[in-house]
Symmetry: C2
Subunit: 381 residues, 2 copies
Amino acid sequence: MKKQYLLAPGPTPVPPEVLLAMSAPMIHHRSPDFIPVIQKVRTGLKWLFQTSQEVLTVAGSGTAGMEASISNFMSPGDKIIAVNGGKFGERWLKIAKAFGVNAIEVPVTWGDSVDVAKVEDLLKKDPSIKGVYVQASETSTGVWHDIKSLAQITSRLSGTILVVDAITALGVVDIPMDAWGIDVLITGSQKALMLPPGLAFIAVSEKAWTLNQSAKCARFYLDLKREKDNILKDSNAWTPAVSLWIGLGKALEMMQKEGLENIFARHRMLAQATREGIKGFGLSIFARQSPSDALTAVVAPEGFDGELIYKNLRNQYGITAAGGQDQLKGKVFRISHMGYADVFDIITAISGVEMVLARMGYKGAPLGSGVARAQAVMIGQ
Amino acid sequence: MKKQYLLAPGPTPVPPEVLLAMSAPMIHHRSPDFIPVIQKVRTGLKWLFQTSQEVLTVAGSGTAGMEASISNFMSPGDKIIAVNGGKFGERWLKIAKAFGVNAIEVPVTWGDSVDVAKVEDLLKKDPSIKGVYVQASETSTGVWHDIKSLAQITSRLSGTILVVDAITALGVVDIPMDAWGIDVLITGSQKALMLPPGLAFIAVSEKAWTLNQSAKCARFYLDLKREKDNILKDSNAWTPAVSLWIGLGKALEMMQKEGLENIFARHRMLAQATREGIKGFGLSIFARQSPSDALTAVVAPEGFDGELIYKNLRNQYGITAAGGQDQLKGKVFRISHMGYADVFDIITAISGVEMVLARMGYKGAPLGSGVARAQAVMIGQ
């Protein structure tokens, strides 16, 4: 018997109530049985996205949402800015290339947050730029980009949209779409929404819908206008992933019961406790300036392999965190504190890291020193 | 208390064993926990598709599979033949248009099966046609198209692929991909595979992979080459719909236990019993020549509204069948006998139709006459 703990930045644990809801017998998506599910989801997603716009749901991974945010608003040859500070920032460039869109890269050193002035400068120099594409929380580095400031810039421009990949951000941190003036806001099911992977969500501002009218990139399955026309009639363009929708209704109900402010405060506290716990054990956080409250990328101490720490957490203690991706492989490991997470998940994570590293010969700090710091944050000391 | 019966042509009922498997705690798709799931699914899908090729799985509806079958093998301006004998045949034309592909329509009167000689003739006249796109089972009409004969034609042509939408056909009827020489074979999760909607499957022949190398249609999320490169390493290009994959492993296990021949024989018998039962009650089948074994489209008797029959089945007896789509709305209703279905589902369907129509004033045949004919087929009389 070994209990399993899922502490990876997606998929995150699914609450038993949601698993149970998804285990009900199948219903037909075009029958009256599904209407209450759609209505509950429509209302709940608008609440979560803090928008008066419809939030569109497609069967697909987060990448489907990212692709839709390019193909539905741009034409081949159009210019966009792509903020690239990690594996998911890179993906904007790859998608743009696949669709013939001309992406101007704003490279950001992995671990740093984007320099907003650089983006502003580019937009000033070239008013033909139609979109700024950025992650809110870059999952590969655990960095938070300053979305609010970017939105202040783009919302003054009539022909430039701000597209935010909030896949590990929405439902973690306050990102009020309408209040900030975000144009396209994307998330996925398997992060703060506490669902299995398989759904992507995209909300679209009026400004972006205007761009949509002239956007010529090829699209069919991910045609958001078609989804909007359907959801307004409590319907879907294509067969929806019924069981995930039902689970989504339940997860939104749980989130609404907790309340947005409480959700954000919980994530802030858990993230803070994790970072302090990690530092209390003598380790450092990879995000130098602006760490995300969704996950923490921890720098493997000198002489210790991050991949081995990840493996030992799994094999010795049943904890599935995440390793580093691409250039960070072996250099960091990542702990999620997003979604269905509470204080004891963080205690588990920190104490697990302590025991694993102690067994590997790490002498940087005594056992329990990280846990104690995390506990202090948790009780507000 | 009213028991519910799902007899629609997708989603179809999900077996309790599959629901249970999908209710397990979430696991991470890049951890070793998921490898056995991937391996089981790879083996099972090859078996089901009767192919030595990898079967590629994407998070999306069946339409995602249809789009991928165009965007991965064609370039803008390329010519294809689209067999259009129903709502799903029409979809080829719409997808081709969205990607700038030049689709030559072979129109088929709804309810009829494609005239294979017409397709052969077009291919002879224009060797530049790169693909023939067709449904095996057209879900809107309940018609079966002669895939084997089409494959005999296209397999002689080195530059023309046969793309078969087998969304309501695979796992119902014998469609041996490799033996017949089908180039792209598509299905979805919510039909004979007995899963919730949310997965599309695409298998690709060597001939089609050759076309893929020069295909210039825009694609990223549905890039099949990327999925192939990943699945060969027991991985996925993007985050897979983990719970659906786990359910898929269980469903494939159940199907393998039953065996392909038994699965096909069961569907043949249930389809035959349904058709005979319907005729035994004095009604007629919409598919005039070549009915599909996946579902039966029943013509509403003169003076009776098909939509009302559908609604009464639901409201009076808890049976969710399906109405007619587009031009068939009100004219037919559709009963599925696909996936997790046995003789008593058919008895339920036929007796439900009898009771509903009798209550609506239908006098074409006595109550029980359809059931008796269906029973006779079931016991081989």
